[in-house]
Assembly symmetry: C2
Homo-oligomer: 242 residues x 2
């Protein structure tokens, strides 16, 4: 057993949208940055894994924010792993403002992939990676939901370009979220108070791929599905704006 | 007379492209951030100007980089104003790595606009703003060039969306540059060593506007022009990749 890791962040100008508050994609990006930093610090970051041709792949994530932090505000992220199973490791996060109020919670689920076989990595290896790093504290919110298929016809098409891709030449998570927000009426983003985002990642999209984006308004959430040119679901996002 | 202002920056993960080096747009963004910080520190930032319904508007900028800094590397920006005229203030920048080598230079030209009349601000006000802040050091490179009209037919169209806009609901400079890079063959961006970017800003583009992007390959540079739906030039960018 160990302690939760603590990171400090500041909402600098490039993190904010036109409302001068952090955008949803920026907040998800900061949370993923904390995950990467912590894994690196504890010796199982992508740098170490890459030497053995392994890597962490994000399979699901949820983020709950009670408000969007303002430009220049600072906050603290606590992150910890409580459990893992044969296939996935679950990392938890809380976000706390400078008055000590918890205003955000997140849960991410990661698979370890062997890039030479494109198969999940050995379970014993997963166990060894988690030795001594577990923290006995439950997830701070409901875990990432499974998002049902979105049945609608595509609303938008997008070819994956240079400014969308990460070092693997895959479309990065921020751009998935930004493009979903781009489809919302701008008033909804302006009046946004709280949000819950759920994401399910099924397959990567690569530089040059042409994606279709489908939208389905459900009860109090909006569900989106990115599909490949062949019609396969690549990523689903559900947004509950409050 | 005063001293140059000094700011430190780090190439954090969200600044890099697939080559794991800072992207051209990130470097321009960092340089503009230094400009904003320095103006704020010296008492003529957009916060103070906004109270009088005034604002700085970027009219031209050039950036020269001898190499693209790697992820996690740190560097120092020196910035100063040497001169201004009736219409524009010229701000200079140098970028220096941790071995003390200057690897980047930039010059930006700013107009002060009265938002109530959409006309340039009073010259005496401009003079007062510059009192005591001038530094007697020349621009570190050739000043921003005037980019000639791009004659070609549009190569791409783009509707300005949520993730493109800044707090004024105008398309932000980073997105102008990113979209230009998105049109380049990705090999050119991968093999990029040094770069000179020149930018001429003529009119803002607003949320919802549909832009045309025209491209013209010239000698050793590539010139781009964004046009409004009415065919007016909004912004021209010239990229020399070396």
């Amino acid at each position: 057993m160990t302690e939760k890791s603590i990171f400090r962040y500041k909402v600098d100008p490039r993190r904010v949208d036109f409302t001068e508050r952090a955008s949803i994609s920026s907040m998800c990006d900061i949370i993923l940055e904390a995950a990467g930093e912590d894994a690196y610090k504890r010796g199982f970051g992508i740098d170490v894994l890459a030497e053995r041709n392994l890597g962490w792949v994000l399979s699901r994530m949820c983020v709950e924010l009670d408000y969007m932090p303002a430009e220049y505000s600072e906050f603290t992220i606590h992150t910890w792993i409580r459990d893992y199973n044969r296939l996935a490791s679950t990392r938890n996060f809380t976000l706390t403002d400078d008055e000590g109020r918890m205003f955000g919670r997140a849960v991410s689920q990661w698979c370890m992939l062997d890039f030479s076989t494109r198969m999940p990595a050995d379970v014993n290896l997963l166990a060894r990676m988690h030795e001594g790093v577990m923290v006995d504290a439950p997830s701070p919110c409901e875990r990432p939901r499974r998002i049902a298929a979105v049945g609608s016809e595509p609303t938008a098409k997008h070819r994956v370009v240079y400014s969308d891709i990460d070092f693997n030449r895959h479309m990065n998570t921020m751009r998935y979220i930004d493009m979903v927000c781009d489809l919302l009426p701008i008033d909804e983003l302006e009046q946004l108070n709280a949000v819950r985002v759920d994401m399910n990642f099924m397959r990567e999209s690569r530089y040059g791929d042409v994606l279709s984006l489908c939208v389905d308004r459900r009860d109090d959430a909006c569900a989106f599905e990115y599909r490949s040119g062949e019609g396969e679901a690549l990523c689903r996002i559900s947004l509950e704006l409050r």
